[in-house]
Symmetry: D2
Subunit: 341 residues, 4 copies
């Protein structure tokens, strides 16, 4: 039985694996200065329509957030995130470990509202002793969010406008970016998103790579000393080619988008089947993660047949279960799953 | 016009100043190993009924919280505090600067409820990937709270029981401890409080000292290497005598309590006058800080006559104003203030 | 022309690549709890003769040093390293970024002498105000060292004895361990080394893996909360299988040692040819790194034909050049190189 | 018997104490925004001939170094200091605790040589992978040094020129500045020193204050968010007046210089007596600290009569003893001491 627990259960997408095999015995410079990273950089620049953008490759998501955020903040500043943001919950305090507070604010279906942020910042600076507080230094959001939801172009534009008003860089963690860009009904493209933030992380691991995240400095230049910062946080891979080769493949012939699109279709099939059977969605997600409210008993029953992601405890009797699809999910896998509902 | 903005507007209580004058020209060892610190340690041990307790003197409150908390936590742990806790709001990220998250939970009139904490911890460990999260490593509360409120003996006992159940040290920040211990209606004494927590900070600055906080390790021994940690955080005073002399005086003939008691009486007079005039208390505080809801206009009017502490913005039209008394407040000062209401 | 610049210019050793291909489409749990990590753990335990040892897999060397060292130190402690130690020079301050000083002491051909360490520690604690100093909390060495040199069993035993006397854990960074264990003339085996330290890092990246380091807690249990610490430092790979698969292969049929042995042989051929041609070795290394003193002109001449590692500037006219071999170096590559001398 | 162990054994200079008494019952704003801090700021600006300089008051020296250095460095940068520098040895890793390496370089009688620094920086940037190293971000020196020695105006100018060439701010820790400025034979005045560095700390504690250091941003503006940084490091005193009052007094009628001058004279008398008796100076110090080489037996003999500062262990038989004078040292105290030699 295929597991729908997450989108990193299998190895590399076959095309990435093939690229790794083919490139394996060329000699390359280390630390991201190899030819594959150069090629991947070029493709990402083309894809984003930003021929001058600084593009860097890091290994994992937590590490990427840690490096980017600690590079952009002054020591007395913190990063604003919704309470459900990945850095606020599931990164074991990686940001605080660099000396910075994650300033947690409420979310709406995983999203940060521009109106809320505007109010929050206005009130912050209106307080008498705001300089005894951690100063907001940047804003962090995820796209898609932890709940698989998306910002519309309007929502993102409004948010970015508030950030600009207060001179706060906006950083978008796109660990699952491809699923977002290919979601049914979204009006945000890759070219849009890089124009609506200052730094974007294009996720690889959850999009079919063995490991790897691409950081694009789209609204700003990369900070001085960035390579040294990457090294300092233990995020500089000696064989940086591992990342370059894979991102090169991901951005060849639209593979990145295809992976997103197909996984989304399968996710939709799962949710349709669930709602048909009378299960209650926790919320509406147009991407590869689907969330359903079930009883403890139902969850235990499912666990007899597969690995289940117990995403969130709701109350004594109910929890949210998450089903996730990725490049490795086949229609047959979905059929088998649906039969168990 | 006397200012009721805070409890640190004047210098030292006259008896502390006299002690400083009298001790000034004796030669003493540095860094807290002087005779005055020794004497003060002895008095605090007697007062708390804990003849073996480790007692250390630090300069300021933020610094004390920083040293104590960073000394007790493992790198992967955070400290639980209510959202209104001093470390969560008004210490400029001092805890995060040492690499630790302040795990913020809701407050009830500034207090952390034992029932809430129990539920929170139970749910935390029930989550599937709790080891991807900052682990709770200790609990921080203030006594009195930022809103001047107090825990009853029962509330404190319940809270400490939850902490013990999860092996989390409980640290009480008593920056205004004396006001709390002398509050009308409280059933918590100094001897109680040291038995209901692991570490206690006995505040000096807001109780009449020029500077100084006493840390009492009451439920545990002080951590190994504590002096080096104090030094590392820039909190080791060369002329540690400054702290010893003042705490020695504060704990001579019950001065610490007298200061608390008299300031509380004056604070109560202020709140009585305010309510008589129809002002709405923000909440009920039995200690030296009183909080009242007023319109922006009213506040601006008062500011023509005195310095006012704008404590919190409530909405577009209203805010919370705080009135604070201390050793330097006279009945005449209160009379003058009341006349302005 | 093959480059001898370093031991991480090519991808994965063919047997590791094959293992990755074969395992690619099995579904596995994330974060190092997969079957391949389990198998690799088992093989390393067998290899070290420590069936109970905690073994964890991390991505890179700097990251591994950062996680291990910050997990073992108290906040007021530092790690002792020779000035040429990797953490002291080439990790961009990764240790300091976690709040700890690297206490630098002199090296002898890259090594820390037991006699020096004993004297250093005795004097440290003899100083009057040693508690105003960073306290030594552990000892870090590399094996082989940055200069390719090795400790004899006697040297290592003596060093470990000093560490034990002062209760300082000894951590060995074996980024190139396989080359050390297979060096001609060494009397230290894998079973020896794990008995002569508390924590050992078995390097993967420089031994033929795409990425990966194995941490073995041989003289102690892994610290409480280690997984959370790994996560916090951005070192927890979602697809941890990438590491498990490779280490499983490295410790199948003695591959790890074979890689070391063969690379050492080729390195020896290079140094023989150099000395025959009259070049001066910088020092004697029995492992896969060879260091030779050359004039700036000679170096520039070589650079016309290949990438050269300018290891260290000696003076205005001379520098140290390093030649490195690895699994990908063939005898024919060596022949071609030698022809250029 | 008067102790010559250090310059912080007694309380406040009588004129400072008087100022504290006189100001005690005025009400002042908190956190350094009081009238006394304003007055002291004005006097320091006049004294340094820099009417626009930012001047801030902090409590202690370690804390001041921690705040200033962590405010000026980027995360990937370290601070250059000689191995004997206070931050490198006796601040318990306060700088590393903020995430930054102290890049230690050799000293000459406690001083950093401009020629050495120039060479060091040239070589640093000439290395192939210097961006894998902590980047030099600023330079720290003490004036007088830990050995009581002084830079000449030429030496300081040369050093500052090197710093400027590499865009590295120069920070001078003048914990004992007054003794330096009044040393016999020095050609450096207060107006010189502020023109030869970017940030200067004017020490108070060791110059007669109970506590307090003044930071003068002379070659640059204070960094953005400095107050919040001060708060974050636990260095913001609620009753900031304590610092303002004392610095106001120190810079009234040249008191700061008088204290320095008279203490230096007494120190010179001590060293004259020592050399007359045949003791060997460790080096030549023109300031209030004098260093003499003595046998262990001699030191033990002296310790029967007074507290002795065992400054440094030289070898099995000899150590360096330090004698220190300050405002509280009388000629009679010196007479008594000399009789014991």
């Amino acid at each position: 039985m295929h597991s729908f627990e997450n989108d990193y259960s299998e190895g590399a997408h076959p095309l990435l694996l093939r690229a790794l095999i083919e490139s394996n015995e060329t000699q390359q410079k280390g630390y991201g200065s190899d030819e594959y990273c150069a090629a991947a950089r070029g493709k990402i620049r083309a894809e984003t329509g930003m021929p001058q953008a600084d593009v860097e490759f890091l290994v994992g998501g937590t590490q990427t957030n840690q490096v980017v955020i600690s590079s952009l903040l002054q020591p007395f500043e913190g990063v604003i995130s919704v309470t459900s943001g990945h850095i606020a919950v599931h990164e074991a305090g990686a940001i605080e470990a660099t000396g910075h507070k994650v300033i947690e604010v409420p979310h709406e279906n995983g999203k940060l509202s521009a109106a809320f942020l505007a109010r929050y910042l206005r009130d912050f600076y209106a307080e008498q002793i705001y300089d005894h507080c951690v100063q907001p230094g940047m804003v962090y959001i995820t796209y898609p969010t932890e709940y698989g939801t998306l910002y519309s172009k309007k929502e993102l534009s409004d948010l970015y406008a508030v950030c600009k008003k207060y001179s706060l860089p906006l950083y978008i963690d796109g660990a699952r970016l491809g699923y977002g860009l290919e979601a049914e009904g979204t009006d945000v493209t890759m070219r849009d998103i890089v124009r609506l933030c200052d730094v974007l992380c294009i996720g690889g691991t959850k999009m079919g790579a063995l490991a790897g995240e691409a950081v694009v400095f789209c609204g700003m230049k990369k900070p001085r000393g960035f390579l040294t910062s990457v090294k300092q946080r233990g995020a500089l891979l000696a064989k940086g080619r591992l990342l370059g080769v894979q991102f090169d493949a991901l951005f060849t012939d639209g593979l990145y988008y295809k992976i997103g699109k197909e996984a989304n279709l399968k996710a939709r099939r799962i949710m349709s089947a669930l709602t048909e059977k009378g299960y209650k969605p926790y919320l509406t997600s147009p991407t590869n993660q689907q969330f359903v409210v079930v009883s403890n008993e139902q969850c235990a029953e499912w666990e007899k047949h597969m690995r289940v992601c117990r995403f969130q405890i709701l109350n004594e009797n109910e929890l949210v279960v998450r089903f996730v699809t990725d490049w490795s999910t086949t229609d047959r896998d979905v059929d088998e799953l649906i039969r168990l509902f």
